[in-house]
């Protein structure tokens, strides 16, 4: 549900960057989203279409780079992505600890005309 507010912030930043450069049209936006932000790309896409209406970003293609959270096994050091309902290592079965990945949420780049 919080995608509405975050998409508004995203559009605000886009328009600010576009204005700085006198851009007439933003054609593509690449956004990086970590799994732990809980943000859903489909909702962002939905709100983006509404919020970018009547702006230079109208109709821009949204590209999402989704980043999975990663865990490191306390026992064998294996780096792994979680399966549902467990944070345990798929190799040795010991518990993993979150490494600092999956919290990202930023605009990486835009393509403009």
């Amino acid at each position: 549900m919080h995608e509405l507010s975050v998409t508004q912030s995203l559009v605000d930043i886009l328009l600010e960057e576009a204005q700085k450069r006198n851009v007439k049209k933003v054609t593509k936006v690449t956004v990086v989203i970590g799994e732990l932000t809980g943000l859903e790309s489909e909702s962002i896409r939905f709100y983006f279409d509404v919020l970018s209406e009547d702006t230079v970003a109208k109709g821009a293609e949204l590209v999402f780079k989704m980043i999975k959270a990663q865990f490191k096994c306390r026992q064998c050091g294996n780096i792994f992505e979680r399966a549902n309902f467990t944070f345990n290592c798929p190799v040795c079965g010991a518990t993993g600890v979150l490494v600092d990945k999956g919290k990202e949420f930023y605009i990486e780049s835009i393509e403009v005309e």
Binding site: M1, S9, G38, T86, T95, L98, Y106, I107, E108, E111
Partner: protein
Amino acid sequence: MEEIIIIRDVLEANNNVASENKAIKDERNILMVNIIGSPGAGKTSFILRAIEHLKVPCGVIEGDVTSDIDAKKMAEKKIPVVQINTGGSCHLNAGSVNRALQSLSFDNGIVFIENVGNLICPSEFELGEDFKLAMANVPEGDDKPYKYPALFTKAKAVVLNKIDMLPYFEFDKKFFYDGIRALNPDAPIFEVSARTGEGFGEFAKWLEEEYQKFRQNK
């Protein structure tokens, strides 16, 4: 066609106001605790019970979509309180807390922010708090760290409320603790019952120590 590299945090506008809030509350000697839990987790009862046990003066910022039911409960106990109504939004943001801080006549103590009941959205928005407190409870189940990892990753401490309900629910404590430990190895976990008061002595002692640390570090 030209590609421009931007790399800008989408939530920077909120984060800037959050930093402002942090400076304001530091100036007023306030330790600010952002409490996040689902609807019905017992956040209001928890705050009321915690205040009974705390020797440090406390104030409250209540966040709700609508209504001032929770704020009235605080006011009845003569607790300084400000109500924020988000008017539909599922979380508090730094701007609303900024306005609440301005109208809260309270300094030198602990301010609890009761966020909107929700385990997802509130964890994404910094408010300028000193730390987040994640609240789980027995009836809602032992799988919450697995389903909502963001909150349990970001919280400084975890509260498991309604432990008086343990005999009536199949709540696997080991599964619950394992999930939290994978995400947040060092967070203290407090088992409490806001109904009976169990566990609040230990929680209050910890929070008072956090408050002392905050005052000393300033």
